[in-house]
């Protein structure tokens, strides 16, 4: 995709274009801090915490992809739980039924979900409005019974158990999987960052902000949107494959419409259209129910629901926006 942008003069974006929103200060410092923490943590965390952290990274990849649709294109997808499931099953079936080495299953999952995303997005994205939500809803609802129907391949309702990747380089299994997932997450971030400033990325922003004007300028809405949607589905599929490696078990009822809704909630809680948002959102949707659980079995629903409403009303830019704002507030007061 970047090749398209190469021959053109770059339009000013961000600060040059007059964007005066406060930027995150100390970019390099915080990046270095995060990176070193990510490397040290697996050796200091107790194993089950490490497992939770790995899951947060898995969800982060999925949310990065979903943000491409929801945050950067302004469309609603109810099918990312299903794409996640297709990725997870592609990997699980290849490993458990065909003995394919697990690293090879990720590109397979990526390819499958990219294709599925393209096929689902193509008809739906020719039109504005709710059509994408409708088609993706159909995909999300049909997937679990379909997985059960194809029992010979998918293990049916029983699900499939997958042996965990064995640790290499003297690392524990858990640590090895963590580093694999970490590498993929880093690559996913790099990909998304590259897209944000590229020509297709800016085309998406234009289409979101003013579709009619953008089309007048010669931006082909359907093509750009479909490509974005396919990439987004692929991110979810890759996250699904990572999930299979991490959890070691897939079952059809893990990938229902509820997962799609959880992902949607995560991307909004984290903050739309930001890079930090997916991490924060993944952390929130996984940690909040677990923590609330400690107080009362009914608490997770109440706390999650309130948190969602609170975010929408108090911090529409999500946790990422909230973080940025409080930090700047503090800095300004000091100055």
């Amino acid at each position: 995709m970047n090749a398209v942008a190469a021959g053109h003069r770059r339009l000013p974006v961000g600060h040059e274009a007059g964007d005066r929103r406060p930027d995150w200060p100390w970019r390099r410092t915080s990046l270095a801090l995060v990176a070193s923490a990510a490397v040290v943590l697996p050796f200091t965390l107790p194993p089950y915490r490490l497992f939770q952290l790995t899951l947060v990274l898995v969800y982060t990849v999925a949310l990065l992809g979903l943000d491409l649709v929801v945050g950067r294109s302004g469309r609603l997808s109810l099918g990312h739980g299903a794409f996640f499931g297709v990725g997870a099953y592609t990997s699980a079936v290849l490993i458990a039924q065909f003995g394919v080495p697990y690293p090879l299953t990720m590109p397979a999952a990526a390819l499958a979900t990219f294709g599925l995303g393209w096929a689902a997005g193509r008809p739906a994205l020719r039109l504005r409005g709710l059509y994408l939500a409708m088609v993706t809803f159909a995909v999300a609802v049909v997937l679990p019974p379909l997985l059960k129907r194809l029992a010979g391949l998918t293990g049916g309702a029983m699900g499939l158990t997958v042996p965990a990747p064995e640790g290499l380089l003297g690392l524990d299994d858990d640590q090895w999987v963590y580093f694999l997932v970490l590498m993929v997450t880093a690559a996913a971030f790099a990909g998304m960052r590259g897209l944000a400033g590229s020509r297709p990325g800016r085309a998406l922003t234009a289409l979101r902000e003013h579709p009619a004007a953008a089309e007048t300028l010669g931006i082909r809405a359907a093509t750009h949107m479909t490509a974005a949607f396919a990439w987004s589905a692929m991110y979810a599929g890759v996250a699904g494959a990572l999930y299979t490696w991490t959890a070691g078990f897939v079952s059809p009822d893990s990938f229902t419409l509820a997962l799609s809704i959880t992902l949607l909630a995560g991307v909004v809680i984290g903050g739309l259209g930001t890079l930090a948002g997916p991490v924060l959102g993944a952390f929130a949707v996984l940690a909040v129910p677990a923590v609330a659980q400690e107080f009362d079995p009914a608490a997770p629903g109440i706390v999650s629901g309130l948190l969602l409403l609170l975010i929408v009303y108090v911090a529409p830019a999500g946790l990422a926006g909230l973080l940025r704002r409080t930090l700047w507030g503090l800095l300004r007061r000091r100055a």
């Binding site: 409708m134 159909a138 379909l146 003013h210 997770p300 109440i302």
Partner: protein, 285 residues
């Protein structure tokens, strides 16, 4: 036996149709897909159950419930939705309704526990097929009344104006906010009807409307999502395919019956992109 199954399908379909209509109404007046619609209906159904349980006769509890639901729907619009309507992008309000959905569901489980509760049927002594048809008839009556109000009264005209084009309606001096609240009230009341109609056969428990919402959503989508008659027709189609395809489309089977209307949706989108009854919006820059 065919009649029996058709009756069952129409009875269930009437319930789906009512909730689908509620979704469409909320969408028409505010442009928001209300994921909490089913849970608001659940809440209303619990209110009805509580009323009947405390000794109120069924036919007295029903109007009270509908009135409560209407007020609750208006309040939801005024308090929650109006504040996020102006937020950038269509996503925030939708996520607010998801938050509401999760919250209301957890609260219902907290207040009424997850125990299964029997809900009185309006026609307790009728055999299965007839009861289902009577329920469908009741739904048809209420929906017909609603249609009359919308088509033939001044209020209905105002509502249609707002639904068609809020900006122009506002410029003509219509208080769009109030009408939108009215729309959500009506949606919530119709939703309550769906809950009350389905509860006798589904049994009341906190997850009752979760599955219904999926079917109602399918029904609304089938009708194009912005057409009230389309939602009703969609609901009936979903209800009837659900019962009949297990028997008459053996290769589909009961497990994939929900796929039938959904495959239909995708096919309709490809051939007739506005849905069976949808209308094409005119885009203005």
């Amino acid at each position: 036996m065919f009649f029996q199954q058709l009756a069952e399908g129409l009875g269930a379909g009437a319930g789906y149709a009512a909730l689908a209509l509620a979704l469409v109404l909320a969408y028409r007046f505010t442009g928001i897909v209300n994921f909490a619609q089913g849970e608001l209906a659940l809440l209303a159904t619990y209110v009805a159950w509580q009323l009947v349980d405390s000794g109120l006769p069924y036919w007295a509890a029903l109007p009270v419930t509908v009135a409560v639901a209407f007020t609750a729907g208006m309040l939801t619009e005024r308090v929650l939705i109006r504040r996020v309507e102006s937020a950038p992008g269509p996503i925030s309000p939708v996520v607010a309704t998801i938050g509401l959905y999760v919250l209301v569901n957890a609260l219902a489980a907290l207040v009424w526990s997850s125990a299964l509760r029997a809900f009185p049927s309006p026609f307790p002594d009728a055999p299965a097929g007839l009861a289902a048809l009577a329920a469908a008839g009741l739904a048809g009556l209420v929906l017909g009344a609603l249609a009359l109000v919308v088509r033939h009264t001044g209020l209905g005209l105002v509502m249609r104006a707002v639904a068609a084009d809020p900006r122009t309606a506002r410029l003509s001096g219509i208080r769009v906010g109030q009408v939108a609240a009215l729309g959500w009230g009506a949606a919530s009341a119709v939703g309550a009807l769906s809950g009350v109609l389905l509860a006798p056969s589904l049994f009341l428990e906190p997850a009752m409307m979760t599955g219904v919402l999926v079917y109602a959503f399918a029904a609304a989508v089938l009708g194009g999502f912005d057409s009230a008659p389309g939602a009703v027709a969609g609901g009936l189609i979903v209800g009837v395919t659900e019962t009949l395809c297990g028997t008459y489309l053996a290769f589909v089977g009961a497990d994939l019956k929900i796929a039938v209307p959904l495959v239909l949706i995708v096919a309709v989108l490809l051939l007739r992109p506005r849905g069976l009854f949808g209308t094409a919006p005119v885009e203005r820059a």
